[in-house]
């Protein structure tokens, strides 16, 4: 039996956690207090030792990312929390923000101190208005308790946080698009280099971290990097929030050690496939992650094992599909999504995804022919590796996997 490990979700269902007293009574702000007694550089080292990897999807080592921030401060530095949770199948960050907003705020404050930031921003998806309001209340509470603002806890550190709501653009989950959006522009990803750590928000050094990533920081600073690492499985560090949706008996967000087996998550955490039906396929890490067939789910859910299996851990958003599911229908939803969310800047993503959508739509209307699949593969190949940001790649890879693994269902459309 796998065992849930409630670290980031320990306050789920506990009311009043946006209040400083309640949060502190349960160990809150211990991490910040410890942190403020250390040098910023030591905190970065501790985060490196934790082996924490970015929970937004890319899995980049957080401590390493932080170390790119210039040591000599010549301009303002900024920390941004990416709360633009938009990857279909993902609904984990809202659980943290709704239930334990001060955990995130504490994490950002520690990050702000470690990175010598002047300000922090939480960029939250526009639809989460009520959550944004809750965060603002929690920030106000922290400010009143001298946990934000000037001279925090008398340690001479000034830092504050603003919450900004997005307005319906999945691409703003990409860090440079998010920065553009925060600057009040269209959410069009920037070219890298330069990376945000060198030239980010307002052309200043900026670190963008996901909600779940930042929520891990107080946990690391409460004890140390090693104890965080040890919470994971042998290969991976810490815990992970897995959001399981689709055809399961108990959909929801579950916190398990990073690297927990996908099959166990579906069968034990989520109560197995709904109504006793047979499993057909699983998307393991949000819609961008290439689909797995039922016989491929004996998989450790960490970054490296997923890549090895030809897919991605991504955001840990697991979408489960039973035997009644039409994969072409899923593929159609998928391509519709990526076409809708493409920013339109670069040719392969803008034109290519649309062409795939057009081809698939025709196939589903019974107007496809033997060239249709060929076209889809050709365009997917063109998109991969030529786009300005990862969105086009993600769409192409997701589609390619569906068509490759369930080819007969697509071919049947042409008969």
């Amino acid at each position: 039996m796998i065992e849930e490990k409630k670290v980031l979700t320990r306050h789920v269902g506990v009311p009043g956690m946006e209040k400083v007293d309640a949060y502190m009574n349960d160990g809150g702000y211990k991490g910040l207090k410890n942190a403020l007694d250390k040098k910023p550089q030591d905190i970065i080292e501790e985060v490196k030792k934790s082996f924490l990897r970015g929970r937004g999807g890319a899995g980049f080592p957080t401590g390493f990312k932080w170390s790119f921030i210039p040591k000599e401060k010549t301009k303002p530095h900024y920390i941004i929390c990416n709360a633009d949770e938009g990857e279909p199948g993902t609904f984990k960050d809202r659980v943290i923000m709704e239930n334990d907003p001060l955990l995130l705020i504490e994490g950002m404050t520690i990050a702000g101190y470690a990175l010598q930031c002047d300000m922090g921003f939480i960029y939250i998806r526009g639809e989460f208005r009520k959550i944004a309001e809750k965060l603002e209340t929690a920030i106000e509470n922290a400010r009143n308790a001298n946990l934000l603002g000037k001279n925090i806890l008398g340690k001479g550190f000034n830092f504050d946080i603003l919450v900004m709501r997005g307005a319906g653009a999945y691409i703003c989950g990409e860090e440079t698009a998010l920065i553009e959006s925060l600057e009040g522009k269209r959410g069009e990803p920037r070219m890298k280099p330069p990376f945000p750590a060198v030239e980010g928000l307002y052309k200043c050094p900026t670190i963008v971290n996901n909600v779940e990533t930042l929520a891990c920081i107080p946990i690391i600073m409460q004890s140390n990097g090693k104890s965080f690492k040890d919470m994971g499985t042998f290969q991976s560090a810490g815990t992970k929030l897995y959001g399981i949706s689709g055809h399961v008996n108990n959909p929801g967000v579950y916190e398990y050690p990073m690297g927990t087996n996908l099959k166990d998550l579906i069968e034990q955490a989520a109560g197995g496939v709904k109504d006793g039906k047979k499993l057909k396929a699983v998307i393991p890490g949000g819609l961008s992650a290439p689909i797995l067939k039922a016989d491929e789910i004996d998989l450790d859910m960490d970054f490296d094992a997923c890549i090895k299996a030809g897919t991605m851990l991504g955001s840990g958003g697991v979408i489960v599909m039973d035997e009644t599911t039409s994969i072409p229908e899923v593929a159609k939803s998928t391509i519709d999504f990526f076409v809708h969310e493409s920013c339109g800047q670069c040719t392969p993503c803008r034109e290519g995804l649309h062409k795939i959508q057009e081809t698939l739509t025709k196939m589903m209307a019974g107007e496809g022919d033997e060239n249709s699949l060929k076209t889809i593969f050709k365009i997917a190949k063109t998109i991969k590796g030529t786009t300005l940001c990862p969105l086009g790649d993600a769409g192409a890879m997701a589609l390619e996997a569906m068509v490759t693994k369930f080819r007969d269902e697509f071919e049947a459309l042409n008969k």
Binding site: P76, E85, G86, E87, P88, G89, T90, F91, R94, M119, R125, G126, E127, F128, R129, K130, L162, M164, R165, G166, A167, G168, A169, Y170, S181, L182, E183, G184, K185, R186, G187, Y202, G243, I244, S245, G246, H247, P251, G252, V253, I283, L287, G317, I319, M321, T325, E329, V330, S333, T334, D336, F337, H340, E341, C343
Partner: protein, 169 residues
Amino acid sequence: MSTTPTPFAANATDYKIPDKVMSKINEIASQYPEKNSAMLPALHLIQDEFGWIPPSAVRQLADALDTTPNKVYAVVSFYTMFNQAPVGKYHIQVCRNVSCSLLGSKHIVDHLTSKLGIQPGQTTENKKFTLSLVECLGACGTAPVMMINDTYYENLTSGKVDEILNTLA
């Protein structure tokens, strides 16, 4: 697919951003290192006020943020939450993405279209309801899901939809 490069529905009426909203916009602008960062917050406030982003408000906002109306349009037309034309009193947005479709969002949409007598993208004649299909709302664990104005409604069934609609005056 759009058939004309004109992004906005024609509108002759002048909408003036009320002073209290304008001062809120200016206050937000002053909190950010650069004024232009108030763009999205300001557009949200404008939409709260009018239910959509009227062209005259775009011009006022451009002046307030020292930018051009065209740049504001470029932003408005990029983000799907900003309505470029008026919507009904209740804007119903049903998620059409994978997790919700797996659990029957199509039935929810069918139910809504027959009940309201409109197709997605349309507004009822009495201007009470606008129905839209949207991408993932980030509530896949409680699919199928819809939003009405700022409120999420989750674990939907046809019966539940009827109950919700009955509560909306």
